[in-house]
Every structure is written in structure tokens, then in C-alpha cells.
């Protein structure tokens, strides 16, 4: 017989499992630092990210500009922090929105047998499209603002969540406690939200973390290709795109945003792995 951890005991155990891996703990700390630096960019940044100074163009990193200055003499360090704010917001926005859409689609597909086939085929069709191609098409239709990039990428990634939610829902809905709720006269929407959803949160959280990382990469890719957020708003992707022209004179221009993207995506992947390992085996035992 399976034992059921109480949510309180479960959380203690979960954190213990999560922190047991050094890499995961390290990744969480690094991510927290990046997120805090970007969130407080206006306080932390050495100067105005938009202030141009033609005399200082392409200055190498040093005393005046810690991470150098770009082709317009703007401070790279400041731009990096403000750009990070946009990149992280896009990642978070996509993770949240795609989870919301995916949960609704997945719960409906898992709960209503008549909806399952059409919804599943729709999800399959969307997943068969190359991610970045679909995103480019959607952004070109919607127009290049941060909100539209979030919308486009959420549409791209929602099917991943929908699939996981559908599969988990199919398992949970057959359990007697769901039948008990039906017998009590609990309405179907309430059964889905109160009884099923809390029991399938773990895989959703794990997948949302991965989507956070994928969305940051995709946003950088879109900006690099020039189809992302309007270039007047700095993002790590646009910074790389702008720096590309000066790669032989000032390689640091693409190095720093590139490193920022790599580190952020790497730590998010590590966090996702850690969450999965800490949540999933429990989930298997739980049910």
C-alpha cells in the first residue's frame, strides 16, 4: 500500500530532495541573483541604458564601462540588466500563459471523451510544426511587441503542457475519490479544478520551468532574426544581433548577452531537472 505524505511533510521532504543535489541548489542561487539584478536594474545599473556617447563607442571593458560600450557608446552592463528584465519577463509570461492554456485544454481533453480526439489532434498538429517557425509566423501576424511575443510563444508551448495535463488527468479521473465527488453531486468544473488539478500540479510545474528556459531561448532567437520585440527595447537577443556587425572589433558585444542567455537557460534547466527528480518519484508513489 502506498503511503501518502501530508502536504506539510511532503514539502519538507521535497525541499530536502531538491537541495540534496548541489547543482540544483547552486542553480537556484544563480537564478535568484540574475532575477534580482534584472528586477532592480534601475537601481543596480551603472548608467542609463539608452544614454549614447559617440566618443565612447566600442570601448573595451574597463574602468569606465565594466562590460564595455556598444556601437552607440551605450553602457553594455546597464543594457544587459535592462534587457534581462525583458527576457526574463517574456520567459515567465510564456511559462505562465502556456500553462494556463495547456491546463484548460488538457483538463478538457482528459475529462470529456468527445473533446479528446479533436483536442488531441489539434495539439499533435501544433507540435508537428517547428517551434521557431510557428513563432515567426505568429509574431509576423500579431506584430512585434513584448506582449505579442509572449502570446505567440505561449501558443507554441501550450501543447506541451496540454499533453502532460491530459495524460495525468486520465489517470486521476479514474480514481475513486473523483467518483466520490461525482456521487456527492460536485459539479464537473469543480471536480476538475478542486479534485483533479491539485493532484497533477507537479508535472505541470516541472514542464513550466523547462518552457521558461525554451521561451527565453526562442525570444533571443526571434530578436536575433529581427522578428522579435521592437529593437528599441533591448533584449539579450537584440543585443547579440546588433553586436554581430562588430564581431571582429568588439567581440564582447555578443559575448556578454550570449553568456547571460546561456547561464539563465542552463540554470533553469538544472532547476527543472531538480524539480522533476524531487517531485516525480513521489508522484509515482503518491498515486
Amino acid at each position: 500500500m502506498a503511503t501518502h505524505p501530508s502536504p506539510a511533510a511532503f514539502e519538507a521532504k521535497f525541499l530536502e530532495l531538491l537541495f540534496a543535489r548541489r547543482a540544483v541548489l547552486f542553480a537556484l542561487i544563480v537564478f535568484a541573483i540574475i532575477a534580482l539584478l534584472c528586477a532592480f536594474a534601475s537601481v543596480v545599473a551603472p548608467s542609463d541604458p539608452a544614454k549614447m556617447s559617440v566618443r565612447d563607442r566600442l570601448t573595451a571593458p574597463g574602468a569606465d564601462f565594466i562590460l564595455g560600450a556598444d556601437a552607440f557608446g551605450r553602457d553594455v552592463a546597464s543594457r544587459l540588466l535592462f534587457a534581462g528584465r525583458v527576457s526574463l519577463s517574456v520567459g515567465l509570461g510564456v511559462a505562465a500563459l502556456s500553462s494556463l492554456v495547456g491546463v484548460v485544454l488538457g483538463l478538457c481533453a482528459g475529462f470529456f471523451r468527445q473533446l479528446d480526439a479533436p483536442l488531441s489532434r489539434l495539439v499533435d498538429a501544433m507540435m508537428a510544426f517547428p517551434d521557431i517557425l510557428l513563432a515567426i509566423a505568429l509574431v509576423s501576424i500579431l506584430g512585434g511587441s513584448a506582449v505579442n511575443v509572449i502570446l505567440a510563444l505561449a501558443i507554441v508551448y501550450a501543447p506541451r503542457i496540454a499533453r502532460i495535463v491530459r495524460a495525468s488527468t486520465l489517470v486521476i479521473r479514474e480514481l475513486p475519490f473523483v467518483e466520490a465527488a461525482m456521487a456527492l453531486g460536485v459539479s464537473t468544473p469543480a471536480i476538475m479544478v478542486r479534485h483533479v488539478l491539485p493532484n497533477i500540479l507537479s508535472p505541470i510545474i516541472v514542464q513550466a520551468t523547462f518552457i521558461f528556459a525554451y521561451a527565453m531561448l526562442a525570444e533571443a532567437g526571434l530578436s536575433f532574426l529581427g522578428v522579435g520585440i521592437d529593437p528599441s527595447t533591448p533584449t539579450w537577443g537584440t543585443m547579440i544581433n546588433e553586436g554581430r556587425q562588430y564581431i571582429d572589433q568588439a567581440a564582447f558585444l555578443i559575448l556578454y548577452p550570449g553568456v547571460a542567455i546561456s547561464i539563465s537557460v542552463l540554470v533553469l534547466q538544472l532547476i527543472g531537472d531538480g524539480l522533476r527528480d524531487a517531485l516525480d518519484p513521489r508522484l509515482a508513489k503518491d498515486l
Partner: protein, 323 residues
């Protein structure tokens, strides 16, 4: 105790069938079942695994949609109710499950589990519900501090009591107990059975008690329905069925019950083989493939009910009626 003939039954089940369409064919889980459940009685539903007794119990509550037939509950055919009316009627009929683990939501505290029905029907304020939950927990023999604890903190028997409190919260008239004690230790089984009997008396409940253990059923039930492969084999008052079983399947089931006296001489009917697949049930009498007295004619006609006594019916061509 109730008087079988004197009153109109709470539940009239007429020609109820449930077929599941699967990729391997049609599963005939319940076929043409008809019987009555008198008010205030405990009806035992027995049969081996695969006989369709669990499906029947679920279909009576319309947790499974029947393929055809009527389930007339207190004058209303619940199979004809729409969503809203069905939800309202569900207050009056509840179920207690077999598995004390998976029948309680692991993310809910006991208080939430027991109050869920009250919440769903908008009964009482939050504090009134809390009082009601405390009363219910006391009634099933749990202390009131259970309210804020999670189901995993309880033993199997205690968890079954939580499930009983949940079922009682809406003050139902009819309860289906689906093998509700078979997952428990024998000593705990007796406690939970006694609790059910006590609650039945106090709340004047009508119960359908699904079991495969005939000795438990004999102890508890007024009426017995024996099912085999989705069909009723025999139905009657418990004392009649136990003292003079007429259907060869009932006789086989009863002789399989262990007797405490090893010296007792026993005339046993031993069943060989397994229950046939409900995907392809035998023609005529579904029991004929394992029946010791079957002949060629049993393969052609589905047996009609034979009256074996007052309120005692069998579905057999060659009933062995002793009285």
C-alpha cells in the same frame, strides 16, 4: 427489521443493462437485471469477481450510464434525469468505496473531505458545516481533531470511517457499500460492519451491500441477490437463500464458505474453471458452462424466473428446490 411484502420498495430496478464498447468487442457487464430494494433493508449483492456486481452498484447511482433499463428511486427514474436534477437527487444516494486509500483525495484535509458534499450543495455556512463535520466524525467514532489532519495519517479502518462520514454528510436514504470492508483486517471488518448496522438503525438507511464474502452478507443482510456473469441467478430473503439455495451457482457459493467445525460432514459442489469472459457470454443460461446439472437445453433459452417461495426467485430451468 423490515417487512418485505408490506411496503413499496425504495428502489425498483427494471431490465437494467450495461454494455461497454471496447476495442476487443462488447463487454456485457450487466444484463437485464430486475429486482427491488425494500425501504430500510440491507440487500446483499454477491458473486465472484467479474460477475458485474460493482458495475451494477455504480449504475444504480448513475456513476456509470446504463445502456438500457430503469432505476426507479422513490418513484423517479434516475436514468431520465438531466444534469441539475441528477445532482439534486445524488444527495439522497451515496456510496462507500472498497479502497480506503484511493477513495480519499490526498490533498484534502479530513474536514474538507467530509464537508465537500455540503459545500457542493451550498448547505450551511462555513462554521455550520464545521459543526456538522465534527458531529459526523463523532458519529463514526473519530475524534474531532481529525478535521485538520490528512487522510494518510489514519489507518485503513479509520479511513473507511472517514469515507462513511462523507457519505452520511448529505443524509442520504440509500447507500451502496461496495466491498467496503474487504480491504480491512478481519478484526477491523467487524467494527466497521457494526458501525454500518448501527448507522442503518439510527438513520433508517436502505443499503446495497456488495460483497464476495457470504458469511459477512449472512450476518448483515435481509435480502440477497446472487449475480453471475452480469445476470441475477437467485434472489430472496437471506434466511431462505441460506437455508434452501435453489440455484446450482448459489449452492456452489454456499458450500465454498468455510465452516468452523473440521469434523462436519459437507456435501460440496465444487466449481471448476473460471468465470467465462463477459465479452462472449455463453448462450442460454450463462452458468451452463460450469453447471453440474446443465444439459443441452440450457444452451438455447435464457432461463425465466422461477418462484421458489415468498419473495424468492431463481433463474434456472432445473431448480433444486427443497422446500
Amino acid at each position: 427489521m423490515f417487512d418485505h411484502a408490506a411496503q413499496d420498495p425504495l428502489l425498483h430496478i427494471r431490465n437494467l443493462s450495461k454494455r461497454f464498447h471496447t476495442s476487443r468487442g462488447i463487454v456485457h457487464a450487466v444484463s437485464d437485471v430486475s429486482f427491488d430494494i425494500p425501504r430500510g433493508s440491507i440487500t446483499g449483492l454477491v458473486g465472484e469477481s467479474g460477475s458485474g456486481k460493482t458495475t451494477l452498484g455504480r449504475t444504480l447511482l448513475r456513476l456509470i450510464e446504463p445502456s438500457e433499463g430503469e432505476t426507479i428511486f422513490d418513484g423517479t427514474d434516475i436514468n431520465k434525469l438531466d444534469g441539475r436534477a441528477l445532482r439534486a437527487t445524488r444527495r439522497r444516494m451515496q456510496i462507500i468505496f472498497q479502497d480506503p486509500i484511493s477513495s480519499l483525495n490526498p490533498r484534502f484535509k479530513v474536514g474538507q473531505i467530509v464537508a465537500e458534499g455540503l459545500r457542493a450543495h451550498g448547505i450551511g455556512t462555513i462554521s455550520e458545516r464545521k459543526d456538522r463535520v465534527a458531529t459526523l466524525l463523532d458519529e463514526v467514532g473519530l475524534s474531532s481533531d481529525a478535521i485538520s489532519r490528512f487522510p494518510h495519517e489514519f489507518s485503513g479502518g479509520q479511513r473507511q470511517r472517514i469515507g462513511i462520514a462523507r457519505a452520511l454528510a448529505l443524509e442520504p436514504e440509500f447507500i451502496v457499500a461496495d466491498e467496503s470492508v474487504s480491504a480491512l483486517d478481519v478484526s477491523i471488518q467487524a467494527q466497521v460492519l457494526n458501525l454500518l448496522l448501527e448507522l442503518r438503525e439510527r438513520h433508517n438507511l436502505t443499503m446495497l451491500f456488495i460483497a464476495h464474502d457470504l458469511s459477512v452478507v449472512e450476518y448483515l443482510c435481509d435480502q440477497i441477490v446472487v449475480m453471475y456473469l452480469g445476470r441475477v441467478a437467485e434472489i430472496g430473503l437471506a434466511q431462505h437463500v441460506y437455508s434452501s439455495p435453489g440455484h446450482p451457482y448459489t449452492q456452489a457459493l454456499l458450500t465454498a464458505v468455510p465452516v468452523p467445525d473440521p469434523q462436519a460432514a459437507r456435501d460440496r459442489t465444487i466449481l471448476t474453471g473460471d468465470i467465462p469472459s463477459p465479452l462472449d457470454p455463453p448462450s442460454g443460461c450463462v452458468f451452463r458452462t460450469r453447471c453440474p446439472i446443465a444439459d443441452a437445453a440450457c444452451a438455447t433459452n435464457i432461463p425465466a424466473p422461477v418462484k421458489a417461495g415468498p419473495a424468492h426467485q431463481l433463474y434456472c430451468r432445473k431448480p433444486n428446490v427443497q422446500n
